[in-house]
């Protein structure tokens, strides 16, 4: 028996809703290990700097390790299959590098705390934008939480800001990663 137009419309709506849910879950699934990795890196970077401020090299070393780790994760999750977006990962990184370099050249931050707050706020903004434009609620919430944590630490716990960012910022990223994995 052929379908009625209403039944056909219901079926199309079901298809569309399932596709949207599946695509969103896939996006979360792909993002989750990156958040977990960077949460651990922040814990090491900020925590290490808090314990010994002479270890500022930790930021560069661990960040480079994080970038390499993110590329490895992306490669592994796609099982080495190249896609149309592969080159965009590298291009994004280059654009971010030039933006940060230009920003610091112009604004000349005067304290480690300012630099330490800038990167989490930048990441928080990116997550919020991904949440808004990608209709990814959990990304958006993670970004807002990260921003609030950063500002709270900067203004209310200045003496232990680095420790705060290591524990609360890194922890929020890891929890965000776990939250996305649960979809």
């Amino acid at each position: 028996m052929p379908l009625s137009p209403n039944e056909a419309a219901d079926a199309l709506r079901d298809i569309s809703q399932t596709e949207r849910r599946s695509a969103k879950a896939y996006g979360y699934h792909m993002m989750s290990p990156h958040l977990f990795l960077w949460g651990a890196i922040w814990l090491g970077e900020y925590g290490g700097f808090y314990l010994d401020p002479r270890r500022s090299w930790l930021f560069s070393a661990l960040s480079l390790a994080g970038v390499a780790g993110s590329f490895l994760i992306a490669w592994w999750m796609k099982r080495g299959r190249a896609d149309n977006y592969s080159w965009r990962y590298g291009a994004t990184l280059v654009a971010a590098f030039f933006f940060v370099t230009a920003f610091f050249a112009i604004f000349h931050p005067t304290s480690d705390k300012q630099v330490g707050a800038f990167f989490p706020l930048l990441v928080a903004l990116l997550y919020v934008l991904m949440g808004i434009w990608g209709n990814a609620f959990r990304m958006g919430v993670t970004g807002v939480v990260l921003g609030v944590i950063t500002l709270t630490g900067y203004f209310y716990f200045p003496a232990s800001f680095m420790l705060w960012m290591g524990l609360a910022g890194g922890g929020a990223l890891m929890l965000g990663g776990l939250w996305m994995r649960s979809v």
């Binding site: 379908l3 056909a8 599946s22 879950a25």
Partner: protein, 103 residues
């Protein structure tokens, strides 16, 4: 297409196909994740995946991650084409006036 594809023309199997089609081409999804997306029981989902596999629409891979068994399902080209034809069939029903239909 005058009649719907009987393999896809079933609510759970249609959701399975739609969930798989949303993934990048060639990407597979784990059974447990698909179960959550489709909202089916384990036995029910397994039976429907078996039907889709028999029809040649999905490929099923079974392996182990450590000691844990893992089943992954992937929509193949034939399945993707079948779903696209089914969607066209549904759109035709909506777009074609009732008096213009052949069946």
């Amino acid at each position: 297409m005058d009649q719907p594809d009987p393999v896809i023309h079933q609510a759970v199997r249609l959701k399975i196909m739609a969930a798989l089609k949303a993934l990048p081409q060639g990407e597979a999804i784990e059974f447990v994740r698909l179960k959550a997306l489709v909202g089916a029981t384990e036995g029910n989902l397994g039976a429907h995946i078996g039907n889709l596999e028999s029809a040649g629409y999905v490929d099923v891979e079974k392996d182990f991650v450590g000691k844990r068994p893992r089943t992954r399902i992937r929509l193949n080209k034939q399945g993707r084409r079948a779903l696209e034809e089914y969607v066209t069939y549904l759109r035709d029903i909506i777009d074609t006036p009732i008096e213009g239909r052949t069946s």
